[in-house]
């Protein structure tokens, strides 16, 4: 079963049957009919030249984030985030293991859905990106100086961190809304029958405070909400700055057979949160500290070390006691995407089972709140009147609307999962002006800067859920498919397909000029504060500490020091602390030892990384450099002798300095 973020009930066969007649001109949906003459020249980036945009794409069930260049679609890098990566040692090296720690223990995988870019005044600034872990609720922060994960924070009182990690206009906060309602509190309060859902289950939205000076995060506060499933969210901006909007489904409060039972109501909600008010309540001490255990892991690039802090409670705000925090706006039907236009005035809800796209007006929302223009309450939270807050509806946009992005010319682009198309419409007139087929079954879509105050425009990328016949077949399992369209002209134009890793959900595209100048080339060895650093071969040594043997090792083209080690016994744990003494760009060294049950290390210039190795057999085992580094790379190797437990072979290492011939 191919995984999607949808809960649609329509089988794919039916979806495809609907898609074909809807495609423009009823032509067969294939490449030949879709691409026009000069598409190739628009995506061709000559060898040695650079792309215009960095495209940061969620890896879905791969748990990682991939980075592409646009418009070429060339893959530049896969950043390890929530999943272990033996290629780089992420999650295997002693330094990175703490990054994947949670209250459920060491978790080597997650399902990463949405990428958000750091912003100043609502405009991408190219400093950081965030991505959510959906399964074991977490948010990761990635530093674009190093393209590495700088911190991962677990979200307490959450289950299924889907509605995340969206940012306020100055990245004051990153949000995390729970997809599943859950019982919260003490152990006794959480150990309840599932059928008591309506009495005992609650939801939360958390506001995470990032520190952009060092890439760390803290939980600022959490708002306890009625039981709904939060799906997606976006921050207000401009006039709506200070507000956040979350799409909600399962207002039926179903706890089983959700496919049917959570699709009963004609309208669910978009929840409007006055986060400036929430921030004020939090500052005034009006919240309560409630139980909520979580890990907060961060990586320090000077010690080259990840560390975990454990939190045990969070500041929670209860809207039943604190007024003016939350309002519900009815939205048809099981809304998925919740997107705010660049002006900040319009909020688009995409009801995935709905026949129209409602567009809400922020000004009307404010008037309705002032006039208490309510149609009722949901668990004590005011529900605003649909007609009072509605700007208008985009009529018959397509089937299965999911997400909307915006360009710099006043147009919106909505993805239609069921009818497999992108629909372009005018934000002011709400008229559909163009539509193009996608291959096949589009989920998210992304315009560079398309959820910010300043879209860069130029392209829209479709992230499709179904690949089928788009590429040479590779058996039952296929790469997923992204498609790049030009949006420069009045008509959208398909330019290229490119395969992607995992299942790409949301993505961000950032102008290369905002990111590239800050890209770090190597770590300065002088600044290396790793507790086991070896600053020069003269410090290379082997130290026994009980059953632990610490190898202080250096590498440079093309040798290790020490390269012969003896006196290690069965029952010992060997820690290879390998420091790369190189001080130039793109000269990593790899380190692998025979029989390592973990992975290799890939050590960047100036960095120290540690591989723990527990030898199980007596004998002499080799180690070598895995990353071809010079003409004498194949000579970059060494031996470690393992003796039986109780052996009297003394600990020794060949750290004979190269100037011994003096």
């Amino acid at each position: 079963m191919r995984r999607t973020s949808l809960t649609t009930t329509l089988p794919l066969v039916l979806a495809a049957a609907i898609a074909l007649p809807l495609a423009q001109g009823c032509k067969p949906a294939n490449t030949k009919s879709a691409v026009t003459g000069d598409a190739a020249s628009k995506v061709f980036v000559p060898p040695g030249q650079y792309d215009e945009f960095y495209n940061f794409v969620s890896g879905g069930f791969s748990g990682q984030m991939s980075v592409y260049g646009l418009p070429s679609g060339r893959m530049l890098r896969v950043i390890p985030v929530f999943s272990v990566d033996p290629e780089t040692g992420w999650g295997f090296s002693e330094e990175t293991k703490p990054m994947l720690m949670t209250t459920h223990g060491f978790i080597p995988w997650d399902d990463s859905h949405h990428v958000e870019a750091s912003m100043s005044d609502g405009i991408q600034n190219g400093k950081y990106v965030w991505i959510n872990g959906n399964n074991t609720p977490r948010i990761a922060m990635i530093d674009l100086k190093t393209f590495r994960t700088s911190s991962i924070i677990e979200i307490p009182n959450s289950a299924g961190n889907h509605s995340s990690p969206f940012s306020t206009p100055n990245s004051e906060y990153i949000v995390a809304g729970t997809r599943f309602s859950v019982p919260m509190g003490t152990d006794a309060e959480r150990d309840v029958p599932i059928e008591t859902y309506k009495e005992n289950f609650k939801s939360t939205v958390s506001f995470i405070k990032p520190d952009t000076s060092n890439g760390t995060m803290e939980i600022a506060f959490q708002i306890k909400t009625p039981a709904v499933d939060f799906d997606l969210s976006h921050s207000g901006k401009g006039p709506s700055d200070g507000w956040f909007f979350f799409s909600c489904y399962n207002t039926e409060k179903a706890h089983n057979l959700l496919e049917v039972n959570a699709s009963q109501n004609d309208k669910d909600f978009i929840m409007a949160v006055n986060w400036k008010k929430a921030e004020q309540y939090a500052k005034e001490g009006k919240g309560k500290m409630v139980p909520g255990k979580y890990y907060n892991n961060s990586y320090d690039e000077s010690t080259h070390m990840g560390t975990s802090k454990i939190g045990t409670e969070v500041l929670q705000l209860d809207p039943k006691e604190l007024t003016d925090l939350l309002y519900f706006m009815p939205c048809p039907k099981s809304p998925h995407g919740c997107d705010v236009d660049p002006t900040g005035e319009f909020i688009v809800g995409s009801g995935k089972l709905a026949a129209t796209l409602p567009v809400f007006s922020f000004a009307k929302i404010q008037t309705a709140i002032t006039n208490k223009d309510y149609e009722g309450e949901y668990d004590g939270i005011p529900v605003l009147k649909y007609e009072s807050v509605l700007q208008g509806e985009v009529k018959k946009p397509g089937l299965g609307p999911l997400h909307t992005e915006f360009d710099d010319k006043g147009f919106a682009y909505s993805s239609m999962f069921v009818s497999s198309e992108i629909v372009k419409w005018n934000v002011k007139t709400l008229e559909v002006v163009d539509r193009v087929p996608t291959y096949y079954s589009i989920g998210h879509l992304s315009v560079p800067g398309g959820d910010s105050k300043k879209p860069w425009g130029k392209y829209v990328i479709a992230y499709n859920k179904i690949t089928k016949d788009r590429y040479l077949p590779t058996g039952p399992e296929l790469a997923q498919s992204a498609q790049l369209y030009s949006i420069d002209g009045p008509k959208m134009e398909l330019l290229a397909d490119y395969p992607s890793i995992g299942e790409p959900h949301y993505a961000q595209s950032i102008p290369a000029d905002l990111v590239r100048p800050n890209s770090l080339k190597f770590f300065k060895i002088e600044d290396n504060k790793h507790p086991y650093v070896t600053k020069g071969e003269k410090e290379a040594r082997v130290v026994r500490d009980g059953k632990n043997v610490h190898v202080y090792m250096t590498c440079i083209r093309s040798h290790f020091a020490p390269d012969n080690i003896e006196g290690v016994k069965i029952g010992d744990d060997v820690y290879f602390h390998v420091t790369n003494l190189e001080q130039d760009w793109d000269v990593p060294h790899g380190f692998a030892v025979k029989g390592a049950q973990t992975a290799e290390l890939l050590i960047m210039p100036g960095e120290t990384q540690t591989l723990k190795w527990t030898p199980l057999t007596v004998g002499v085992q080799p180690f070598y450099c895995t990353d071809f580094c010079s003409a004498l790379h194949q000579e970059m190797q060494g031996y470690i002798r393992i003796s039986p437990a109780g052996s009297s072979v003394p600990l020794s290492a060949n750290t004979k300095s190269v100037d011994a011939g003096l």
Partner: protein
């Protein structure tokens, strides 16, 4: 966080220059591989002297050698221990690169400084450097020393005099 401000600045300048050049070319309609909006790796990744190999090198009149400065020698030795020692002995034997004993007498000071600071340019353009590469077969890494640091290393080298024939 570790940054290399100097390098970044150079990079930005180099990029800006190339950007202007590329734009001018594009406007002139000439058939050049460089197009507006994108740049060649040479423009971005290499230091300016690499783009114009001999132009940026340190010249003889930029270096003056006085009596040995022990303060500089000590700093030079410290840098050597971390960044150079893995490949260069203090004797005459070659490990990865040549031993340093007597090297300050064999080579001109500006040649030594250029090998340290402008490693890639030297390996691409200097015959003596290329001869060393043919012998050692490992490209000397650019260890990203500043000019001042390189000068301190040179001062340390000056203390490693060749043994006089008896």
């Amino acid at each position: 966080m570790v940054t290399n401000k100097k390098f970044t600045l150079n990079t930005v300048k180099a990029f800006a220059l190339m950007g202007i050049t590329a734009f001018a070319m594009a406007c002139g309609g000439s058939e050049t591989p460089a197009t507006g909006g994108t740049t060649t790796p040479a423009a971005v990744e290499k230091t300016p002297e690499a783009a114009a190999p001999m132009a940026g090198l340190i010249t003889a009149d930029e270096v003056s050698l006085g009596p040995i400065d022990q303060g500089m020698v000590a700093k030079g030795k410290e840098i050597y221990d971390v960044k150079c020692q893995a490949c260069h002995s203090l004797g005459t034997n070659r490990v990865v690169g040549p031993g340093w004993k007597g090297v300050a007498e064999q080579r001109k000071p500006e040649w030594i400084l250029n090998m340290i600071v402008h490693t890639d340019a030297m390996l691409e353009s200097d015959e003596a450097a290329q001869a060393m590469l043919e012998e050692c077969l490992v490209r000397m890494p650019n260890q990203n020393l500043s000019k001042d640091e390189a000068r301190e290393v040179l001062e340390f080298m000056r203390t490693l005099e060749a043994e006089k024939a008896s």
